[in-house]
Symmetry: none
Subunit: 226 residues, 4 copies
DNA sequence: CATGAATGAGAGTTCATTCAT
DNA sequence: GATGAATGAACTCTCATTCAT
């Protein structure tokens, strides 16, 4: 991070005007970076506390100890802040995963890495919001509890044929429910990834992935006969 | 109230005042229903085009051919509109699933039902937004394509240990990538369901479900030695 | 109230067309009066419960069992309702006073009448609102309790010279406070009456009345020397 | 932060950067105060012209030469404006009273103070509205002059027993009318003070005060026989 | 670089009143 | 006479962003 290269042979004499200017520019850039980071800290704290859409530029500025206008010296828009925050979130994610898999291999590595990834977002949902452009932090606001229950029921209704089929295929009660829930989650996950364009980075076809999941599920439900 | 003098010789076809009033009321209710549906159509179109949070009451009114105040004759708030729209979305979902599984059983039913569920949201992402309160607020605008690519890379980096582990366990190249992507989707799906409270309706523990998924994945990666 | 004059020589034969029409008109007017009264009842109840400015035409209509438009068949505007309500309030006031003074005379009458007048408004502040065009029922809304206290203090400060003077003139502590409060009330009362034009009906000069009050107060404070 | 290179030969008159900044801050605060006062002026003018509830933030902004949003840099809500205006009104009241009683004592002080208090509100009724939350909402518009006259008559009717009693007790015609009017004003004043909670600040009972007034009135009406 | 006042657009909601039916 | 949908204007307040200083 220290951008000033150690001058190997420090000239005892006065530095040239050009050198002085270069050093000054560098120092300024460092100061600017610090302040930028300070604002990002404020923004992250605000986002995590108030949600993406509950956070105004005023709020960020206040928390950073600046006035609204000052932010625009470091970021061109609110969205740029969002982008910077997302980048930083991903660095933390990578660090968490790397720490978890350090010194492991094979199955242990798979389990550790997957759990770290899962745990990262599990513990800090706001990072998930950040990662998938989710406003409002996915809270059911304004829906009466009763309406919410009714809607949940209908959602579950749509999955009941699958649940019933799993039982028909010989699955136990508890397993059928668990597998239906997992199926539901898998579908939602695939779709969120698909709609946010995240799945493209794996060059995978959403359809193919889903077909694959279904095959494995059927295999689990109808165990090898022999 | 009956202003019509009693006709001494009531024609058998003439309807009574009460009947007329009843018919009038019904007609009005129908008209009201039609207009309510009209507004819902406008709201759905607006939501689908502008996103949930980009849609204002003014916009809905304009699309429906009304002034803002008129909406409040049919809905008490913006959130009620959202609720109505969500309810209707779920009805369409159930209809789609029911049609797909009609006359099937066992594995065929499982596959048909799951595919219908998946396909419903696949084809109309806004229904997914609706169903999971996904307010997509900031999207690409602030994210330059180049930044987006860089972020995607970092996201993928976080999953590379798992991918590598799968290969170590003997999985082929293509399978390893596919399973990693599927793992990613499964995690995101579980988390979205968890944060929106949808998983509660199955009375399942997110952690247990994830452990189960991991076990199955390991089993797939390291086939029975027999 | 019965508007139909008793027909002295009731013709046993059928009444003329003109008579019939007259009777019908009268009946209709009676019906209309009843409905008007019904709406006034609803309006009064709403005003008394929600205050003058918290009451909307919708609210009045709902309480009367009608739709908003219907009101306009009986009143040309919200303000006309207010006028009618005020008239009716004054009738109740007169009835209350009349009942109180019935069978009294002299001092007893004075005391009974004044107390009845006072008690009428004391018990039902909304009638006071009505009588003096006071919106919001005179509640200090939106002022923090602390600010309210501060302002009250400043108001009292403005009266403290008078209080001090009363003590200087020989009045006891308690009496001085009481007389200051009474002075305050008298001033406010005179001004409210003056600004609402109510004092004109007595053809009295506000100034003269206030001078008179002051003279009496001085006399009370400095009792006759002899 | 100091961008000015240190002047090797500091002129004794040159102010330091800190001084300059302090001066700048003060100037800005003064400017802000001026603008705040400007907005208060606009608000007062609007209130005085349109009444408290007829004045919107838009109106205030327009009169101050700003857009609605600008007001919120100086006041957090409409009610805060109201509070500030009321506070300022009370300061003017205190100044007026203080000026009037300066150098007086005893009876002279009592008369001067009371008259100043009375005169302050007499000359500017809107200050009275401000001080007692008198939102005059409906006023004459809906009350035709003729209806107003009729209502005034009924109001006077309610007081006629008292007027008559005063005459019975030996009071002259003119005095009876004056005392009745004064009684009316006193009642209204007490009630307004009571309903706005202003009487509480004197820790006086409205009832006791009214009884006291009545006693004094009776004493005036029936002079000591001696 | 930082300020902070100001903009301008827009948010959801309410209301008295009108008028075709 | 009554309905009730609809209007149109208004309401308070919030926000990202700009810009002279």
């Amino acid at each position: 991070m220290a951008k000033r290269p150690p001058s190997p042979v420090a000239a005892p004499v006065a530095e040239s005007a050009a050198e002085r200017q270069a050093r000054r520019r560098e120092r300024q850039r460092t100061v600017a970076d610090v302040r930028r980071a300070l604002m990002l800290d404020a923004a992250r704290a605000a986002f995590f506390e108030l949600g993406l859409e509950g956070t105004s530029m005023r709020e960020i500025a206040k928390r950073a100890g600046y006035t609204p206008g000052a932010i625009y010296s470091y970021f061109t828009s609110k969205e740029e802040i969002y982008g910077a925050l997302l980048g930083e979130s991903l660095e933390r994610l990578n660090a968490a995963v790397a720490a978890a898999v350090a010194g492991t291999a094979g199955e242990q590595c798979l389990r550790a890495g997957a759990l770290a990834f899962y745990g990262f977002y599990r513990e800090q949902p706001r990072d998930l919001d950040l990662g998938f452009y989710l406003f409002r932090g996915m809270q059911p606001r304004g829906l009466t509890p009763e309406l919410n229950r009714r809607l949940n029921t209908r959602l579950r209704d749509a999955l009941s044929p699958c649940e019933e089929a799993l039982r028909q295929l010989g699955m136990g009660e508890a397993d059928a429910v668990a597998e239906t829930t997992a199926l539901f989650a898998h579908i939602v996950g695939l779709l969120v990834l698909s709609h946010t364009g995240r799945i493209r980075m794996f060059r995978q076809s959403t359809h193919a992935l889903f077909a694959r999941y279904l095959d494995a599920l059927v295999a689990r439900a109808r165990p090898p006969v022999l």
